[in-house]
Symmetry: C2
Subunit: 295 residues, 2 copies
Protein backbone atom coordinates (compact mmCIF):
# COMPACT_ATOMS: atom_id res chain seq x y z
CA UNK A 1 0.00 0.00 0.00
CA UNK A 2 1.47 3.36 -0.93
CA UNK A 3 1.79 5.86 1.88
CA UNK A 4 1.44 9.64 1.90
CA UNK A 5 2.39 12.34 4.36
CA UNK A 6 0.45 15.58 4.95
CA UNK A 7 1.32 18.40 7.37
CA UNK A 8 -0.19 21.59 8.75
CA UNK A 9 1.91 24.61 7.88
CA UNK A 10 3.58 24.99 11.30
CA UNK A 11 4.97 21.46 11.11
CA UNK A 12 5.80 21.61 7.39
CA UNK A 13 9.61 21.99 7.64
CA UNK A 14 9.76 19.04 10.03
CA UNK A 15 7.47 16.99 7.77
CA UNK A 16 9.54 17.80 4.67
CA UNK A 17 12.60 16.50 6.46
CA UNK A 18 10.81 13.39 7.71
CA UNK A 19 9.46 12.76 4.22
CA UNK A 20 12.99 12.81 2.77
CA UNK A 21 14.31 10.52 5.47
CA UNK A 22 11.45 8.02 5.28
CA UNK A 23 10.81 8.09 1.56
CA UNK A 24 7.09 8.68 2.18
CA UNK A 25 6.06 11.47 -0.20
CA UNK A 26 4.70 14.71 1.24
CA UNK A 27 1.43 15.80 -0.37
CA UNK A 28 0.06 19.31 -0.69
CA UNK A 29 -2.68 20.79 1.44
CA UNK A 30 -4.00 24.31 1.66
CA UNK A 31 -5.31 25.88 4.87
CA UNK A 32 -6.87 29.27 5.55
CA UNK A 33 -8.67 31.14 8.28
CA UNK A 34 -11.88 33.08 7.74
CA UNK A 35 -12.21 36.51 9.42
CA UNK A 36 -14.38 34.91 12.13
CA UNK A 37 -11.59 32.48 13.04
CA UNK A 38 -13.03 29.40 11.36
CA UNK A 39 -10.60 27.15 9.54
CA UNK A 40 -10.71 26.01 5.92
CA UNK A 41 -8.74 23.00 4.74
CA UNK A 42 -8.21 21.53 1.30
CA UNK A 43 -6.29 18.38 0.45
CA UNK A 44 -4.69 18.55 -2.97
CA UNK A 45 -2.92 15.19 -2.91
CA UNK A 46 -4.51 11.98 -4.14
CA UNK A 47 -5.44 9.94 -1.05
CA UNK A 48 -7.42 7.14 -2.64
CA UNK A 49 -6.33 3.74 -1.39
CA UNK A 50 -3.38 5.23 0.46
CA UNK A 51 -2.22 5.13 4.06
CA UNK A 52 -1.94 8.74 5.19
CA UNK A 53 0.31 10.06 7.98
CA UNK A 54 -0.64 13.51 9.28
CA UNK A 55 2.34 15.34 10.73
CA UNK A 56 1.12 17.87 13.29
CA UNK A 57 2.89 19.01 16.42
CA UNK A 58 0.30 19.85 19.08
CA UNK A 59 2.09 22.62 20.93
CA UNK A 60 -0.81 25.01 20.29
CA UNK A 61 -3.62 22.55 20.76
CA UNK A 62 -6.45 25.07 20.45
CA UNK A 63 -5.46 26.21 16.99
CA UNK A 64 -4.22 22.82 15.75
CA UNK A 65 -7.01 20.49 16.87
CA UNK A 66 -9.80 21.45 14.47
CA UNK A 67 -7.60 21.69 11.36
CA UNK A 68 -6.15 18.29 12.28
CA UNK A 69 -9.59 16.73 12.70
CA UNK A 70 -10.89 18.36 9.51
CA UNK A 71 -7.87 16.98 7.70
CA UNK A 72 -8.35 13.48 9.11
CA UNK A 73 -12.02 13.41 8.09
CA UNK A 74 -11.33 14.87 4.64
CA UNK A 75 -8.57 12.38 3.93
CA UNK A 76 -10.89 9.50 4.81
CA UNK A 77 -13.63 10.97 2.60
CA UNK A 78 -11.06 11.05 -0.19
CA UNK A 79 -10.52 7.32 0.15
CA UNK A 80 -7.54 6.94 2.48
CA UNK A 81 -7.39 3.42 3.87
CA UNK A 82 -5.73 4.42 7.15
CA UNK A 83 -4.98 7.77 8.80
CA UNK A 84 -2.27 8.13 11.40
CA UNK A 85 -0.86 11.01 13.40
CA UNK A 86 2.82 11.87 13.81
CA UNK A 87 2.80 14.39 16.66
CA UNK A 88 6.40 15.31 17.49
CA UNK A 89 4.91 17.06 20.53
CA UNK A 90 1.73 15.68 22.06
CA UNK A 91 -0.36 17.97 24.26
CA UNK A 92 -2.59 17.44 27.28
CA UNK A 93 -0.77 14.75 29.22
CA UNK A 94 -0.11 16.68 32.42
CA UNK A 95 -3.58 16.44 33.96
CA UNK A 96 -3.23 12.70 34.54
CA UNK A 97 -5.49 12.49 37.59
CA UNK A 98 -8.10 14.55 39.42
CA UNK A 99 -6.14 16.48 42.01
CA UNK A 100 -9.38 18.13 43.16
CA UNK A 101 -12.98 16.92 42.94
CA UNK A 102 -14.70 17.96 39.75
CA UNK A 103 -11.57 18.55 37.69
CA UNK A 104 -11.77 17.58 34.06
CA UNK A 105 -9.38 14.73 33.29
CA UNK A 106 -8.16 16.51 30.18
CA UNK A 107 -5.52 13.93 29.26
CA UNK A 108 -8.15 11.24 28.93
CA UNK A 109 -10.68 13.39 27.07
CA UNK A 110 -8.05 14.70 24.64
CA UNK A 111 -6.61 11.21 24.10
CA UNK A 112 -10.07 9.76 23.58
CA UNK A 113 -10.93 12.50 21.10
CA UNK A 114 -7.82 12.03 18.94
CA UNK A 115 -8.22 8.26 19.12
CA UNK A 116 -11.58 8.67 17.37
CA UNK A 117 -10.08 10.47 14.39
CA UNK A 118 -6.80 8.72 13.73
CA UNK A 119 -5.87 5.04 13.58
CA UNK A 120 -2.36 5.23 15.01
CA UNK A 121 -0.02 7.65 16.73
CA UNK A 122 3.72 8.25 16.86
CA UNK A 123 5.20 10.80 19.26
CA UNK A 124 8.44 11.78 20.97
CA UNK A 125 8.93 11.69 24.75
CA UNK A 126 5.33 12.26 25.83
CA UNK A 127 5.02 13.64 29.35
CA UNK A 128 4.07 10.40 31.11
CA UNK A 129 4.17 10.84 34.84
CA UNK A 130 1.48 8.86 36.60
CA UNK A 131 0.59 7.04 33.39
CA UNK A 132 3.04 4.27 32.66
CA UNK A 133 2.16 4.00 28.98
CA UNK A 134 0.47 6.04 26.30
CA UNK A 135 -1.98 3.18 25.85
CA UNK A 136 -3.68 4.25 29.07
CA UNK A 137 -4.77 7.44 27.32
CA UNK A 138 -4.82 6.59 23.61
CA UNK A 139 -6.83 3.57 22.56
CA UNK A 140 -5.07 3.30 19.19
CA UNK A 141 -1.76 1.60 18.30
CA UNK A 142 1.10 3.92 19.21
CA UNK A 143 4.88 4.13 19.17
CA UNK A 144 6.81 6.33 21.58
CA UNK A 145 10.25 7.46 20.46
CA UNK A 146 12.88 8.75 22.89
CA UNK A 147 15.22 11.69 22.34
CA UNK A 148 17.70 10.63 25.06
CA UNK A 149 20.40 9.32 22.70
CA UNK A 150 20.21 12.37 20.41
CA UNK A 151 20.45 14.68 23.42
CA UNK A 152 23.41 12.73 24.80
CA UNK A 153 25.22 12.95 21.47
CA UNK A 154 24.68 16.71 21.34
CA UNK A 155 26.04 17.09 24.88
CA UNK A 156 29.09 14.97 24.09
CA UNK A 157 29.80 16.97 20.95
CA UNK A 158 29.14 20.49 22.23
CA UNK A 159 29.68 20.80 25.98
CA UNK A 160 33.04 21.07 27.72
CA UNK A 161 33.11 18.78 30.78
CA UNK A 162 29.33 18.50 31.13
CA UNK A 163 27.58 18.00 34.46
CA UNK A 164 23.95 17.01 33.89
CA UNK A 165 21.54 18.64 36.31
CA UNK A 166 18.02 17.41 37.11
CA UNK A 167 15.69 19.78 38.94
CA UNK A 168 14.03 17.08 41.06
CA UNK A 169 13.88 13.41 41.98
CA UNK A 170 11.16 12.84 39.41
CA UNK A 171 13.74 13.41 36.67
CA UNK A 172 16.40 11.08 38.12
CA UNK A 173 15.87 7.97 36.02
CA UNK A 174 15.63 9.85 32.75
CA UNK A 175 18.59 12.09 33.56
CA UNK A 176 20.75 9.17 34.64
CA UNK A 177 20.04 7.51 31.30
CA UNK A 178 21.06 10.58 29.28
CA UNK A 179 24.15 11.09 31.49
CA UNK A 180 25.25 7.50 31.02
CA UNK A 181 24.82 7.77 27.22
CA UNK A 182 26.80 11.03 27.27
CA UNK A 183 29.47 9.57 29.53
CA UNK A 184 28.93 12.47 31.94
CA UNK A 185 28.21 12.76 35.67
CA UNK A 186 24.92 14.13 36.97
CA UNK A 187 23.41 15.71 40.07
CA UNK A 188 19.82 15.96 41.22
CA UNK A 189 18.66 19.14 42.93
CA UNK A 190 15.65 19.30 45.22
CA UNK A 191 12.55 21.11 44.11
CA UNK A 192 9.72 22.40 46.28
CA UNK A 193 6.56 23.66 44.59
CA UNK A 194 4.80 26.15 46.87
CA UNK A 195 1.04 26.61 47.04
CA UNK A 196 1.29 30.01 45.39
CA UNK A 197 2.78 28.42 42.26
CA UNK A 198 6.37 29.49 42.91
CA UNK A 199 9.07 26.91 42.58
CA UNK A 200 12.16 26.70 44.78
CA UNK A 201 15.16 24.59 43.88
CA UNK A 202 18.08 24.00 46.21
CA UNK A 203 21.45 22.67 45.11
CA UNK A 204 23.73 20.34 47.08
CA UNK A 205 27.38 21.34 47.62
CA UNK A 206 28.71 21.82 44.09
CA UNK A 207 32.18 22.94 45.12
CA UNK A 208 33.88 20.02 43.35
CA UNK A 209 32.05 20.82 40.11
CA UNK A 210 33.19 24.38 39.44
CA UNK A 211 35.25 23.31 36.44
CA UNK A 212 32.26 21.61 34.80
CA UNK A 213 29.52 23.05 32.60
CA UNK A 214 26.06 22.39 34.04
CA UNK A 215 23.46 21.11 31.56
CA UNK A 216 19.94 21.46 32.97
CA UNK A 217 17.63 18.99 31.27
CA UNK A 218 13.83 18.89 31.26
CA UNK A 219 11.25 17.36 28.95
CA UNK A 220 8.86 20.31 28.53
CA UNK A 221 9.93 23.90 29.12
CA UNK A 222 6.93 26.22 29.03
CA UNK A 223 6.73 28.91 31.73
CA UNK A 224 10.30 27.72 32.54
CA UNK A 225 9.66 28.26 36.28
CA UNK A 226 11.44 25.04 37.22
CA UNK A 227 14.33 25.67 34.85
CA UNK A 228 14.63 29.24 36.06
CA UNK A 229 14.77 28.19 39.71
CA UNK A 230 17.38 25.59 38.79
CA UNK A 231 19.52 28.11 36.93
CA UNK A 232 19.28 30.51 39.88
CA UNK A 233 20.39 27.76 42.27
CA UNK A 234 23.37 27.01 40.01
CA UNK A 235 24.27 30.68 39.61
CA UNK A 236 23.99 31.01 43.39
CA UNK A 237 26.46 28.12 43.72
CA UNK A 238 28.84 30.02 41.41
CA UNK A 239 28.72 27.43 38.69
CA UNK A 240 29.53 28.24 35.04
CA UNK A 241 26.56 29.48 32.94
CA UNK A 242 24.24 26.51 32.50
CA UNK A 243 23.23 25.05 29.16
CA UNK A 244 19.42 24.75 29.32
CA UNK A 245 18.14 21.76 27.37
CA UNK A 246 14.56 20.78 26.63
CA UNK A 247 12.96 18.12 24.48
CA UNK A 248 9.89 20.28 23.80
CA UNK A 249 10.61 24.03 23.60
CA UNK A 250 7.24 25.58 24.38
CA UNK A 251 8.94 28.65 25.96
CA UNK A 252 6.43 31.34 26.88
CA UNK A 253 7.26 34.92 25.91
CA UNK A 254 9.19 35.97 29.02
CA UNK A 255 10.75 32.61 29.81
CA UNK A 256 13.76 33.02 27.57
CA UNK A 257 14.65 36.47 28.85
CA UNK A 258 14.20 35.43 32.47
CA UNK A 259 16.58 32.54 31.91
CA UNK A 260 19.23 34.80 30.36
CA UNK A 261 18.76 37.31 33.14
CA UNK A 262 19.31 34.56 35.73
CA UNK A 263 22.66 33.72 34.13
CA UNK A 264 21.77 30.86 31.81
CA UNK A 265 24.07 30.04 28.92
CA UNK A 266 22.87 28.49 25.68
CA UNK A 267 19.28 27.26 25.27
CA UNK A 268 19.08 24.02 23.34
CA UNK A 269 16.08 21.96 22.25
CA UNK A 270 15.02 19.24 19.85
CA UNK A 271 12.95 20.23 16.83
CA UNK A 272 9.62 18.78 18.02
CA UNK A 273 8.36 22.35 18.48
CA UNK A 274 9.76 25.02 16.13
CA UNK A 275 11.86 27.45 18.21
CA UNK A 276 15.08 29.46 17.88
CA UNK A 277 16.75 27.07 20.35
CA UNK A 278 16.21 23.99 18.11
CA UNK A 279 19.57 22.27 17.71
CA UNK A 280 18.88 18.54 17.99
CA UNK A 281 17.21 16.87 15.05
CA UNK A 282 14.85 14.09 16.14
CA UNK A 283 13.18 13.43 12.79
CA UNK A 284 15.55 10.52 12.03
CA UNK A 285 14.37 8.81 15.22
CA UNK A 286 10.80 8.69 13.89
CA UNK A 287 11.47 6.97 10.59
CA UNK A 288 11.29 3.39 11.82
CA UNK A 289 8.09 3.88 13.83
CA UNK A 290 6.37 5.83 11.05
CA UNK A 291 7.31 3.27 8.43
CA UNK A 292 6.11 0.47 10.67
CA UNK A 293 2.68 2.04 11.25
CA UNK A 294 2.08 3.77 7.95
CA UNK A 295 3.26 1.11 5.53
CA UNK B 1 -35.10 15.02 37.29
CA UNK B 2 -33.46 18.21 38.50
CA UNK B 3 -31.63 20.23 35.89
CA UNK B 4 -28.48 22.33 36.14
CA UNK B 5 -26.91 24.94 33.91
CA UNK B 6 -23.15 25.53 33.50
CA UNK B 7 -21.43 28.13 31.34
CA UNK B 8 -17.96 29.07 30.13
CA UNK B 9 -16.97 32.54 31.29
CA UNK B 10 -17.61 34.32 27.97
CA UNK B 11 -21.24 33.17 27.95
CA UNK B 12 -21.77 33.64 31.70
CA UNK B 13 -23.88 36.85 31.62
CA UNK B 14 -26.17 35.27 29.02
CA UNK B 15 -26.40 32.06 31.04
CA UNK B 16 -27.18 33.95 34.26
CA UNK B 17 -30.06 35.64 32.51
CA UNK B 18 -31.31 32.38 30.96
CA UNK B 19 -31.07 30.70 34.34
CA UNK B 20 -33.30 33.35 35.92
CA UNK B 21 -35.81 33.12 33.09
CA UNK B 22 -35.95 29.32 33.00
CA UNK B 23 -35.62 28.60 36.70
CA UNK B 24 -32.79 26.14 35.98
CA UNK B 25 -30.06 26.91 38.53
CA UNK B 26 -26.64 28.00 37.28
CA UNK B 27 -23.79 26.04 38.85
CA UNK B 28 -20.21 27.15 39.38
CA UNK B 29 -17.27 26.12 37.28
CA UNK B 30 -13.70 27.32 37.26
CA UNK B 31 -11.54 27.52 34.14
CA UNK B 32 -7.90 28.48 33.65
CA UNK B 33 -5.23 28.46 31.01
CA UNK B 34 -1.73 27.17 31.58
CA UNK B 35 1.21 29.18 30.17
CA UNK B 36 1.44 26.69 27.26
CA UNK B 37 -2.19 27.40 26.27
CA UNK B 38 -3.71 24.22 27.65
CA UNK B 39 -7.07 24.55 29.39
CA UNK B 40 -7.98 23.48 32.89
CA UNK B 41 -11.61 23.04 33.93
CA UNK B 42 -13.21 22.28 37.27
CA UNK B 43 -16.90 21.72 37.95
CA UNK B 44 -17.89 22.83 41.42
CA UNK B 45 -21.60 22.09 41.19
CA UNK B 46 -23.11 18.75 42.13
CA UNK B 47 -24.02 16.98 38.86
CA UNK B 48 -24.98 13.55 40.18
CA UNK B 49 -28.28 12.36 38.71
CA UNK B 50 -28.91 15.71 37.07
CA UNK B 51 -29.58 16.82 33.53
CA UNK B 52 -26.93 19.40 32.67
CA UNK B 53 -27.22 22.15 30.07
CA UNK B 54 -23.91 23.69 28.99
CA UNK B 55 -24.33 27.27 27.78
CA UNK B 56 -21.49 28.08 25.37
CA UNK B 57 -21.62 30.40 22.39
CA UNK B 58 -19.24 29.12 19.72
CA UNK B 59 -18.16 32.40 18.15
CA UNK B 60 -14.52 31.60 18.86
CA UNK B 61 -14.63 27.91 18.11
CA UNK B 62 -10.90 27.27 18.51
CA UNK B 63 -10.76 28.51 22.07
CA UNK B 64 -14.21 27.22 23.11
CA UNK B 65 -14.21 23.70 21.71
CA UNK B 66 -11.79 21.97 24.07
CA UNK B 67 -13.11 23.59 27.27
CA UNK B 68 -16.63 22.64 26.15
CA UNK B 69 -15.65 19.02 25.50
CA UNK B 70 -13.68 18.81 28.75
CA UNK B 71 -16.71 20.15 30.56
CA UNK B 72 -19.08 17.69 28.89
CA UNK B 73 -16.85 14.73 29.76
CA UNK B 74 -16.28 15.94 33.34
CA UNK B 75 -19.97 16.44 33.96
CA UNK B 76 -20.70 12.89 32.80
CA UNK B 77 -17.91 11.54 35.01
CA UNK B 78 -19.57 13.38 37.89
CA UNK B 79 -22.80 11.48 37.30
CA UNK B 80 -24.90 13.72 35.05
CA UNK B 81 -27.67 11.73 33.41
CA UNK B 82 -27.82 13.89 30.27
CA UNK B 83 -25.63 16.68 28.90
CA UNK B 84 -26.97 19.21 26.42
CA UNK B 85 -25.57 22.27 24.70
CA UNK B 86 -27.20 25.67 24.48
CA UNK B 87 -25.14 27.46 21.82
CA UNK B 88 -26.67 30.89 21.18
CA UNK B 89 -24.27 31.06 18.22
CA UNK B 90 -23.28 27.84 16.48
CA UNK B 91 -20.10 27.83 14.39
CA UNK B 92 -19.00 25.99 11.26
CA UNK B 93 -22.17 25.85 9.20
CA UNK B 94 -20.97 27.80 6.18
CA UNK B 95 -18.93 25.09 4.50
CA UNK B 96 -22.03 23.06 3.65
CA UNK B 97 -20.63 21.40 0.53
CA UNK B 98 -17.33 20.80 -1.23
CA UNK B 99 -16.96 23.72 -3.59
CA UNK B 100 -13.61 22.31 -4.75
CA UNK B 101 -12.30 18.75 -4.75
CA UNK B 102 -10.52 17.84 -1.53
CA UNK B 103 -12.11 20.49 0.66
CA UNK B 104 -12.87 19.45 4.21
CA UNK B 105 -16.61 19.46 4.85
CA UNK B 106 -16.10 21.29 8.12
CA UNK B 107 -19.81 21.65 8.93
CA UNK B 108 -20.24 17.90 8.97
CA UNK B 109 -17.05 17.15 10.90
CA UNK B 110 -17.77 19.83 13.50
CA UNK B 111 -21.40 18.72 13.84
CA UNK B 112 -20.37 15.09 14.14
CA UNK B 113 -17.79 15.97 16.77
CA UNK B 114 -20.18 17.91 18.99
CA UNK B 115 -22.86 15.24 18.52
CA UNK B 116 -20.46 12.77 20.17
CA UNK B 117 -20.12 14.84 23.33
CA UNK B 118 -23.58 16.24 23.99
CA UNK B 119 -27.02 14.64 23.91
CA UNK B 120 -29.04 17.60 22.61
CA UNK B 121 -28.57 21.04 21.14
CA UNK B 122 -30.47 24.33 21.20
CA UNK B 123 -29.35 27.25 19.05
CA UNK B 124 -30.56 30.50 17.53
CA UNK B 125 -30.80 31.12 13.77
CA UNK B 126 -28.06 28.75 12.60
CA UNK B 127 -26.69 29.65 9.18
CA UNK B 128 -28.53 27.00 7.15
CA UNK B 129 -28.11 27.65 3.49
CA UNK B 130 -27.90 24.45 1.49
CA UNK B 131 -28.86 22.37 4.51
CA UNK B 132 -32.58 22.46 5.12
CA UNK B 133 -32.35 21.35 8.75
CA UNK B 134 -29.78 21.12 11.50
CA UNK B 135 -30.49 17.39 11.67
CA UNK B 136 -28.47 16.97 8.47
CA UNK B 137 -25.37 18.01 10.40
CA UNK B 138 -26.13 17.16 14.05
CA UNK B 139 -27.23 13.64 14.79
CA UNK B 140 -28.68 14.59 18.19
CA UNK B 141 -32.12 16.02 19.07
CA UNK B 142 -32.09 19.76 18.44
CA UNK B 143 -34.31 22.82 18.61
CA UNK B 144 -33.74 25.87 16.45
CA UNK B 145 -35.07 29.18 17.79
CA UNK B 146 -35.64 32.20 15.54
CA UNK B 147 -34.87 35.81 16.40
CA UNK B 148 -37.15 37.28 13.69
CA UNK B 149 -39.96 38.36 16.04
CA UNK B 150 -37.57 39.96 18.54
CA UNK B 151 -35.81 41.82 15.73
CA UNK B 152 -39.15 42.98 14.31
CA UNK B 153 -40.24 44.29 17.72
CA UNK B 154 -36.99 46.22 18.10
CA UNK B 155 -37.41 47.78 14.64
CA UNK B 156 -41.02 48.75 15.38
CA UNK B 157 -40.02 50.32 18.70
CA UNK B 158 -36.83 52.12 17.66
CA UNK B 159 -36.82 53.01 13.97
CA UNK B 160 -38.65 55.91 12.40
CA UNK B 161 -40.36 54.76 9.17
CA UNK B 162 -38.17 51.68 8.65
CA UNK B 163 -37.35 50.25 5.25
CA UNK B 164 -35.83 46.80 5.61
CA UNK B 165 -32.97 46.10 3.23
CA UNK B 166 -31.68 42.71 2.21
CA UNK B 167 -28.31 42.50 0.47
CA UNK B 168 -29.28 39.68 -1.92
CA UNK B 169 -32.00 37.32 -3.13
CA UNK B 170 -30.78 34.66 -0.69
CA UNK B 171 -32.07 36.82 2.17
CA UNK B 172 -35.52 37.53 0.64
CA UNK B 173 -37.67 35.01 2.50
CA UNK B 174 -36.18 35.75 5.90
CA UNK B 175 -36.26 39.52 5.36
CA UNK B 176 -39.88 39.43 4.14
CA UNK B 177 -40.82 37.58 7.33
CA UNK B 178 -39.17 40.16 9.61
CA UNK B 179 -40.66 43.03 7.56
CA UNK B 180 -44.12 41.58 7.79
CA UNK B 181 -43.79 41.15 11.57
CA UNK B 182 -42.50 44.73 11.85
CA UNK B 183 -45.24 46.04 9.57
CA UNK B 184 -42.59 47.63 7.38
CA UNK B 185 -41.75 47.54 3.66
CA UNK B 186 -38.57 45.96 2.35
CA UNK B 187 -36.29 46.02 -0.67
CA UNK B 188 -33.79 43.48 -1.94
CA UNK B 189 -30.54 44.70 -3.44
CA UNK B 190 -28.42 42.66 -5.81
CA UNK B 191 -25.11 41.32 -4.69
CA UNK B 192 -22.25 40.10 -6.86
CA UNK B 193 -19.32 38.32 -5.21
CA UNK B 194 -16.23 38.70 -7.39
CA UNK B 195 -13.50 36.10 -7.69
CA UNK B 196 -11.05 38.29 -5.78
CA UNK B 197 -13.32 38.20 -2.71
CA UNK B 198 -14.75 41.69 -3.13
CA UNK B 199 -18.49 42.15 -2.90
CA UNK B 200 -20.52 44.57 -4.98
CA UNK B 201 -24.08 45.50 -4.13
CA UNK B 202 -26.29 47.59 -6.37
CA UNK B 203 -29.50 49.28 -5.26
CA UNK B 204 -32.68 49.73 -7.30
CA UNK B 205 -34.16 53.23 -7.64
CA UNK B 206 -34.77 54.27 -4.03
CA UNK B 207 -36.06 57.75 -4.84
CA UNK B 208 -39.44 57.07 -3.24
CA UNK B 209 -37.77 55.93 -0.01
CA UNK B 210 -35.77 59.01 0.96
CA UNK B 211 -38.01 59.69 3.95
CA UNK B 212 -37.48 56.19 5.35
CA UNK B 213 -34.71 54.78 7.54
CA UNK B 214 -32.98 51.81 5.93
CA UNK B 215 -32.43 48.81 8.21
CA UNK B 216 -29.90 46.41 6.70
CA UNK B 217 -30.41 42.95 8.14
CA UNK B 218 -28.08 39.93 7.99
CA UNK B 219 -27.72 36.80 10.07
CA UNK B 220 -23.93 36.77 10.63
CA UNK B 221 -21.80 39.88 10.35
CA UNK B 222 -18.13 39.02 10.50
CA UNK B 223 -15.82 40.74 8.00
CA UNK B 224 -18.97 42.82 7.23
CA UNK B 225 -18.03 42.94 3.54
CA UNK B 226 -21.61 42.39 2.42
CA UNK B 227 -23.05 44.85 4.92
CA UNK B 228 -20.41 47.41 4.01
CA UNK B 229 -21.18 47.14 0.29
CA UNK B 230 -24.88 47.45 1.10
CA UNK B 231 -24.35 50.56 3.23
CA UNK B 232 -22.24 52.09 0.46
CA UNK B 233 -24.98 51.42 -2.09
CA UNK B 234 -27.52 53.09 0.24
CA UNK B 235 -25.27 56.06 0.95
CA UNK B 236 -24.69 56.36 -2.80
CA UNK B 237 -28.49 56.47 -3.25
CA UNK B 238 -28.60 59.33 -0.73
CA UNK B 239 -30.61 57.38 1.80
CA UNK B 240 -30.62 58.24 5.51
CA UNK B 241 -27.84 56.56 7.58
CA UNK B 242 -28.71 52.87 7.71
CA UNK B 243 -29.33 50.91 10.89
CA UNK B 244 -27.14 47.80 10.58
CA UNK B 245 -28.72 44.78 12.23
CA UNK B 246 -27.24 41.33 12.78
CA UNK B 247 -28.36 38.26 14.67
CA UNK B 248 -24.79 37.19 15.38
CA UNK B 249 -22.35 40.07 15.89
CA UNK B 250 -18.99 38.50 15.11
CA UNK B 251 -17.64 41.85 13.81
CA UNK B 252 -13.94 41.66 12.99
CA UNK B 253 -11.71 44.48 14.26
CA UNK B 254 -12.02 46.89 11.32
CA UNK B 255 -15.59 46.03 10.34
CA UNK B 256 -17.24 48.48 12.72
CA UNK B 257 -15.05 51.40 11.75
CA UNK B 258 -15.47 50.69 8.05
CA UNK B 259 -19.25 50.68 8.45
CA UNK B 260 -19.19 54.03 10.29
CA UNK B 261 -16.87 55.45 7.67
CA UNK B 262 -19.26 54.35 4.92
CA UNK B 263 -22.06 56.30 6.58
CA UNK B 264 -23.81 53.63 8.64
CA UNK B 265 -26.01 54.69 11.54
CA UNK B 266 -26.55 52.54 14.60
CA UNK B 267 -25.25 48.96 14.78
CA UNK B 268 -27.71 46.62 16.45
CA UNK B 269 -27.45 42.93 17.29
CA UNK B 270 -28.96 40.21 19.43
CA UNK B 271 -27.00 39.01 22.44
CA UNK B 272 -25.99 35.60 21.02
CA UNK B 273 -22.41 36.91 20.78
CA UNK B 274 -21.31 39.50 23.37
CA UNK B 275 -20.68 42.81 21.56
CA UNK B 276 -21.16 46.54 22.18
CA UNK B 277 -23.98 46.51 19.60
CA UNK B 278 -26.11 44.00 21.57
CA UNK B 279 -29.60 45.49 21.96
CA UNK B 280 -32.01 42.63 21.36
CA UNK B 281 -32.36 40.07 24.12
CA UNK B 282 -32.98 36.58 22.75
CA UNK B 283 -32.57 34.62 25.98
CA UNK B 284 -36.36 34.58 26.59
CA UNK B 285 -36.83 32.81 23.25
CA UNK B 286 -34.70 29.88 24.44
CA UNK B 287 -36.58 29.07 27.63
CA UNK B 288 -39.19 26.77 26.14
CA UNK B 289 -36.73 24.75 24.05
CA UNK B 290 -34.23 24.44 26.90
CA UNK B 291 -36.89 23.36 29.37
CA UNK B 292 -38.20 20.84 26.88
CA UNK B 293 -34.83 19.22 26.29
CA UNK B 294 -33.22 19.61 29.71
CA UNK B 295 -36.12 18.64 31.94
Amino acid sequence: MSALMLALSETLPFARHLSELSGIPLGQIETRRFPDGEAWVRVEADCKGRSVALVVSLDRPDSRLLPLIFLADAVRDLGATRVGLVAPYLAYLRQDRRFHTGEALTSRTFGGLLSRYVDWLVTIDPHLHRYTSLGQVYTIPNRVVHAAEAMAVWIRDHVDRPLLVGPDEESRQWLADIASRAGAPYVILSKVRHDDGTVEVTAPDLHDHHQQTPVVVDDIVSSARTMLATVKALTGARMRPAVCMAVHALFSAQAEEQLRHAGAGRLVSTNTVPHASNAIDVAPLLVEAVNELAL
